[in-house]
Symmetry: C2
Subunit: 308 residues, 2 copies
């Protein structure tokens, strides 16, 4: 199966602690890397997880708070020192250009590659990028500053070829792609073998939604319906719901409620406030509502698997 996996580089909150790095994740879709958020020290975590700078084409920033953004200039500067040539795309709320471009101008003289900055209207749910493997959409969130999440939707995959049938009919390799694309095979004697006989159905395309930082916002549910993996912030435990509301964050149960109501397959919660030493309470509270929940932690790799 083609790769679709999420690596958590950091899942802490605004105040860095010894325990957590600031927010950043890397989504690997068919060996292309997409970064979501880029806190200070993200480049160190990126290296620690043996990810490849050359495979990273896009950085998506959810909002312009330091704990989601301060690492961007560092990773860009490093890629320039490494002699990168391919364009890097940086996406984020309106204002991101003013936050990033002057830093690039000052610190990346003799830059070896282009950085294309794409300011986004965070209030819209829209497709902002697609290639042959994936479509990427914004998810409007509600925080103290303009903020959006990101939805990664794998495009429909090709069916699997049946090795046994290929052998049985002695079909040349040159025909395999055509068969996957839906063409029947015509044998040298004129017999037509329908492509459905030569393949098993494609895997279902998978999807991942990243929702942080945000207050509880159930109107995002239609956008993230049936996601295979939902990452949703849970800055506070249920006991601190007032604090959560006040700072436009969510509680563990609110994150789990979103996961349940959008019929996610799996939930990962993170962005824990630094006030908590023991994070197991988050897990208990979330699992009461949505059992298939895991706690984010640094260097956790979550593969998006398919149930057959």
């Amino acid at each position: 199966m083609e790769k679709f996996e999420v690596t958590i580089l950091g899942c802490g909150c605004a105040l860095p602690t010894i325990r957590h790095f600031g927010a950043s994740q890397v989504v690997n879709i068919h060996e292309k890397l997409f970064m979501v958020d880029c806190a200070e020290a993200t480049q160190l975590q990126f290296r620690r997880n043996k990810l490849k700078f050359n495979h990273l084409g896009h950085i998506f920033i959810t909002h312009l708070h330091g704990d989601h953004f301060f690492g961007a200039i560092g990773i860009i500067s490093t890629m320039s020192l490494l002699g990168r040539t391919s364009t890097l795309h940086v996406w984020g709320p309106i204002g991101i250009e003013q936050a990033l471009q002057p830093q690039i101008n000052i610190f990346c003289q003799g830059m070896t590659f282009n950085v294309e900055i794409h300011p986004l209207d965070t209030k819209k749910h829209q497709m902002i990028f697609e290639d042959r493997s994936v479509e990427i959409y914004t998810i409007p969130l509600r925080h103290r500053v303009p903020c959006c999440g990101y939805l990664f939707k794998e495009k429909p995959l090709l069916p699997h070829i049946r090795r046994d049938m290929i052998d049985a009919y002695n079909i040349p390799i040159s025909q395999i792609n055509n068969i996957k694309l839906g063409m029947d095979y015509i044998c040298p004697d004129g017999t037509v073998i329908p492509h459905t006989r030569l393949t098993t159905p494609a895997d279902s395309p998978r999807s991942f939604a990243y929702c942080s930082d945000t207050t509880y916002k159930p109107d995002i549910i239609p956008y993230i319906e049936n996601v295979d993996l939902l990452y949703h912030e849970a800055t506070f435990t249920d006991e601190e719901e007032k604090e959560a509301n006040r700072y436009f964050h969510s509680t563990a149960s609110q994150a789990a409620t979103i996961a349940r109501d959008c019929h996610a397959r799996q939930l990962c919660i993170g962005h824990f406030s630094s006030r908590y030493d023991d994070e197991s309470i988050f897990l208990e509270q979330a699992r009461t509502i949505f059992p298939n929940t895991v706690l984010a932690k640094e260097n956790l790799l979550i593969p998006l698997t398919i149930e057959h």
Copy 2:
């Protein structure tokens, strides 16, 4: 003895590695903290070493390369989240205001304290700060961009009081500070006890010089004559002297030569290029010229002790 010690938070070079953080050190002089350089992730290292944000009054930036500066906005932002009220002074080459102030404006809204930015002429050797414990001077260095080192000179200390004599003459505590300041003590019967009889000589004031990044520059020697501790960059081993010249860096032997010729008591070398897996070669080469050399490493604490 009053505290004078240096903690190394990071001693890597431009390209961050798993092994090293970017450049930053904290100088503790009589419990006041002075930071020199502030690479990405410095605030994490600062916490890891259990240093106190409230004791940090000054950040000195040597030059505007990311591996010496990218952590400044993060630490400032964190101190604001922590509700700091006292002014923070940030010193650095001309241009530092343009590099830092816009970031503060964007990311530190509702800032709880003032940041005073002091642009410096890096070509001058001058005293830029003093308080009752220390004088701080710039050291003109030569790098690819304007760059200066910093010299921390402890002010003359008061003599030590002789407990035995105080007891013998039954001198009240209220007089002790006067005696330290050089006043003789007059006994109730009119006898004059000279202050020199009541004290032992003060410890010699200590000094620390931070010289990074720079090409070999022997004309700094008069400024750093007799320093107790010299931190000097050694980005390359002696075999790569050409590379060192090309990028305006120093070799291990060049750093040691500066230490020898300025009659430093101790040398610490760092800023090792990421190309070296084994840094012991730096130590060997430097010790050939200046035996009292140590290798910088993260979280190394170097107390400046006095030989009596």
